[in-house]
Assembly symmetry: C2
Homo-oligomer: 314 residues x 2
């Protein structure tokens, strides 16, 4: 791996990462959408390009950077580094799964959302049938892409199989979580809420980080720390989501806030109240950070990522 980037703020690094990711995503889609009916390929591009925090691809890269080179000083990995070429398919695949889930979850029969990432949702911009099909094909492309061969950057078949299992596991759990979210118990406890979100959101975040790590050196201690980190991080991400749904604006979020209250949906804010939810967010981030202690400075990028989850306003 080349010399690490000079220390830069995480926000600035994210912007760089997102630009590089966007370019890789565009290339991956161009190679696969050429033969598709234009309305379908337009909907696929509309669904996943030009927007999103790209948190899952970031976790792939941070997981890989940490395990590929655990002695690094803790600088943020340079996303333009050739050393990452082999893991881009994993980073793109997991974002396509995330993208498909947003398109389907926004459908009228599910969460019925009109706005996503500051634009009309796919079924609003196109139509419901196209949104269903675009989601379906995004999932297919994710698995297809994961197993592509990149000349000069071979990935061991064992890594590709591990990726596929992690991606499938995260995807199945995500759908289970959405099913529970659509059919909640009347007054869910905080524990039930945590279980549901652990599936709906946490599982794919876990898959992302572990897919990155699966491409690096196998080290049981490191993997145990990453597992212990990502579960509370996913929870914190969701608590912040619920807080933002209560306190954020359309302009900030790019989607309609206040949905939980309007749909009488349970959230960390409705169950705990806003102040206790904020307190729980801080506590949960602390648990995540504690899990990184054994990794020393090498985990600094993940610490920065946790700080982002704590303070994000979109």
């Amino acid at each position: 791996m080349k010399a690490p980037l000079p220390a830069i703020p995480f926000t600035q690094w994210q912007a760089t990462f997102r630009d590089v990711f966007e370019q890789r995503l565009i290339e991956a889609l161009d190679a696969r959408l050429a033969d598709m009916p234009p309305r379908l390929s337009d909907a696929v591009r509309y669904a996943v390009l030009d927007g999103g925090k790209r948190l899952r691809p970031m976790l792939v890269m941070l997981g890989y950077a940490l395990t590929a080179n655990p002695d690094i000083s803790g600088a943020l990995p340079d996303p333009t580094d050739e050393a990452f070429t082999a893991v881009w398919p994993a980073a793109i695949a997991i974002e396509l799964i995330h993208g498909y889930s947003l398109v389907h979850d926004d459908l009228p029969a599910m969460d019925d959302d009109d706005l996503r990432r500051g634009k009309p949702t796919v079924h609003r911009a196109f139509d419901e049938a196209t949104a269903i099909l675009a989601g379906d094909v995004l999932q297919t492309l994710a698995f297809d892409l994961l197993l592509q061969e990149i000349p000069d950057h071979p990935v061991a078949a064992s890594v590709q199989l591990a990726w596929t299992r992690l991606l499938a596991r995260g995807s199945v759990d995500m759908v289970s979580g959405q099913q529970l979210d659509l059919n909640p118990s009347t007054t869910p406890s905080e524990q039930e809420l945590g279980h549901m979100h652990g599936l709906k959101t946490g599982a794919l975040l876990r898959s992302a980080l572990l897919m990155g790590a699966a491409a690096g050196r196998s080290d049981i201690t490191v993997h145990a720390s990453l597992e212990a980190f990502i579960a509370p991080l996913g929870l914190a991400f969701q608590i912040q989501d619920d807080i933002l749904d209560e306190t954020g604006t359309v302009a900030q979020l790019g989607k309609t806030p206040g949905k939980d209250a309007a749909q009488a949906k349970s959230s960390y804010v409705t169950v705990l109240g806003l102040e206790r939810a904020r307190q729980r967010l801080t506590e949960t981030i602390d648990v995540a950070l504690a899990a990184l202690v054994p990794l020393g400075n090498a985990a600094d990028p993940l610490r920065a990522c946790a700080h982002f989850v704590l303070t994000r306003n979109h």
Copy 2:
């Protein structure tokens, strides 16, 4: 491979095959649905168990039997033969993809069907959201299952990768075809109709046969014959579908006939008329059969399969 089954009619062989397949499918699902919310796992089982012609899994098996042992006498392969253990995941995976596509295509925003395989469609028996999620998870399970390791029956990683590519290609084309079917030109020509159905139905049938063949010996002549056979077979399958939509009964079909006429949808019957559609069906099967000539007796099971497509009434 054990001795082939004694010569039995294809219909009887199909019944045996379907029983064995059903059992393998039940086991594969049981191993994967245990942790799922019951409503979701019930919908998944409801969607794919206990019904269907299982044509795609049959093509996997026939493709494998032919290429694994091209000198066979032409008897139908015994589905209980241990030699097939390694390809069952491919047979199950392709049926799960087919199953997900039926669940999604039946949705109100798509073909809006109430009846499938003699039962209410998944969104009727459960609800729309559950049907969308069940379809989503069926697709995930397909790719997951394809790459599973079966103790004592290893499949080469190269075969698993070839399977994944074929499955992904067939799935993407299938969705492209459905998109074209939903947005047809006003008066499609027979050629346009053929292009659409080649994607919507033909692509996955092709993937099925070639996935079977990918697990056998690589022989360019055999593969070329199979490719030349499966394209017209897929077309014939669709022509017969359109004829049955015009002439069949609910009891025969297990779904509502007359949909094409009711929805003013173009089909081989509306474009060609019933008699010319029947004639085109016979001609197309003849083209398929001609492609099998170089394979000699070994292709007899595929000939029987083509005869089934020609004469099926459900």
